[in-house]
């Protein structure tokens, strides 16, 4: 945000240079930084997809445990199972949409909503896993 304000300030102070190569460069840089505030890069999507995969792997290992109550020291709570499965399914769709976009646009900026959908589902799953001490 600070960076954006600095660029906006520079752009305004150089408004008189508009039409010159330097003025155009500043304006373009300002626009590019504004775009990164509202959009994400393929690298950010790649990292978000991997982060989602990490929680999916941990959740899968949890689902493989025997249902509680059991004599085993670790077990799977059916109420947690009910919460995790639909979230993981929704996250998988969000991940696939984001990855498809990033692959099709290797040099572009994705709409931030694609990224936010994926990261917010990942955070919700992480919160559930923390709450129930499901780790990976």
């Amino acid at each position: 945000m600070k960076k954006l304000l600095v660029i906006v300030a520079i752009t305004l102070s150089l408004a008189g240079c508009q039409g010159t190569r330097f003025g155009d460069f500043i304006a373009t840089t300002g626009n590019a930084i504004t775009a990164t505030e509202n959009a994400v890069t393929p690298q950010q999507i790649y990292i978000a997809a991997n982060a989602f995969d990490a929680v999916k792997v941990s959740a899968t290992n949890y689902l493989k445990l025997k249902r509680c109550p059991t004599n085993a020291p670790f077990c799977r709570d059916p109420s947690v199972t009910k919460k995790l499965i639909p979230l993981i399914r929704a996250g998988t769709i969000a991940r696939n949409n984001a990855v498809s976009w990033a692959r099709a646009n290797p040099n572009g900026f994705a709409d931030v909503s694609l990224y936010e959908k994926l990261t917010s589902i990942t955070s919700t799953i992480e919160a559930i896993m923390r709450q129930y001490n499901i780790g990976g």
Binding site: A49, T81, T92
Partner: protein, 100 residues
């Protein structure tokens, strides 16, 4: 390595009753818990290692995700998705049976 750990834990579990000082229920419970937890921890560590490696690599490459990186990710995700689908189906089936 994980085979060696499991073997050692199995051996400890078997030897435990022969050592009176260590045969208290508390020690038995601890050893049994560790014995059950170890394969889960090892499996999770092995599953998560390539994912963490991917993230570190992409951060090191300062934004350059290659076609090979995407292909490797998608191949890995096919296995992750299949594994989840099987585990979810089994868990739901187990829960359904338990309710009936």
């Amino acid at each position: 390595m994980e085979g060696l750990i499991s073997l050692s834990l199995g051996l400890i579990t078997k030897l435990l009753p022969m050592i009176p000082a260590l045969s208290t229920p508390l020690v038995r419970d601890i050893v049994n818990t560790v014995a059950v937890a170890t394969p889960v921890v090892i499996s999770t560590y092995k599953d998560l290692k390539p994912i963490v490696a991917n993230i570190i690599k992409s951060l090191k490459n300062s934004g350059n995700i290659t076609e090979d990186d995407w292909n490797a990710l998608i191949e890995a995700e096919k296995l992750i998705d299949e594994d989840f689908d099987k585990a979810a189906a089994a868990a739901l089936a187990e829960d359904k049976t338990a309710k009936e």
